[in-house]
């Protein structure tokens, strides 16, 4: 006996295409965009080249509630007087603004690791950029899926 309960592959495909269309449309509302994030990054780094590596973002890949998302940014660095991380900048693609935080640290930090909790309005990419005392920029990124966005309306 064959199972006839599930949808046929064709039906499922059209259904998925339909939901994809529906989910893409409202995303065009007022939000930061990948271009806005790129512009915000340009504001920080200027004309310097940003190399990928050394920066690790520790964030859960699947988030149930975007209102509180634990994020840890760590940068590989000896953190000595001669070679240390001066600043860590974090950006996002789809919150209303592309900025998350800018942290300033130095040789007195000992370790370039920062933990905090952030808000995410949608599934998106988070980028962290570390600026070293030698004037180099290193970047790392993480993609996250958010099932419930940071609350948009006031709770009653």
């Amino acid at each position: 006996m064959t199972c006839r309960n599930g949808p046929t592959p064709l039906q499922r495909r059209t259904f998925l295409a339909g939901t994809a269309l529906v989910t893409i449309l409202p995303a065009a509302a007022a939000r930061a965009t990948p271009e806005a994030m790129a512009a915000a990054i340009r504001d920080v780094v200027g004309n310097a080249t940003v190399r990928e590596g050394k920066v690790t973002l520790d964030v859960p890949p699947l988030i149930e509630n975007g209102s509180t998302v634990p994020l840890t940014v760590s940068v590989e660095s000896p953190m000595s007087e001669a070679d240390h991380v001066k600043a860590i900048h974090v950006f996002n693609e789809k919150n209303p603004q592309p900025y998350v935080f800018d942290a300033t640290l130095g040789p007195a930090s000992g370790k370039a690791v920062i933990g905090t909790r952030i808000k995410l309005g949608d599934s998106q990419k988070i980028v962290a950029i570390a600026e070293t005392s030698k004037g180099e920029f290193w970047s790392g990124s993480a993609d996250v899926i958010v099932t419930l966005a940071a609350c948009l309306e006031e709770m009653t």
Binding site: K111, G115, K119, T156
Partner: protein, 106 residues
């Protein structure tokens, strides 16, 4: 008086890298959300967090509305001298809170 939770070891060996964790009660209202009356709730966030060790700044962070409510920050610092670690939060609507913790470095 704001409610603050701070986690700093009471003692540390000289040269040891210690973790400092701090959390403060604050709504971090983004300024993008409509309230129950349909109007946008004005922005009210903490803009800046700084940590000083015996008066020398060891860490600071500029926050945006994308930081979750009741901001939590953890960072590291090298234990060099005994003294006080002062943590300071400043933000919209004249928000300013400073908390001090003592640490013994031996």
């Amino acid at each position: 008086m704001a409610n603050v939770l701070i986690n700093v070891p009471k003692t540390a060996r000289r040269g040891e890298v210690i973790e400092i964790k701090a959390m403060i009660l604050h709504p971090m209202e983004t300024g993008f959300r409509p309230g129950t009356n349909g109007r946008i709730i004005p922005r009210n966030i903490i803009e800046r967090f700084t940590a000083t060790w015996n008066g020398t700044e060891v860490f600071s962070m500029a926050m945006s509305p994308a930081i979750a409510a009741n901001p939590f920050v953890s960072f590291f610092a090298v234990a060099r001298d005994s003294g006080t670690i002062a943590l300071r939060w400043t933000g919209d609507e004249g928000f300013a809170v400073e908390e001090r913790v003592a640490i013994t470095v031996g």
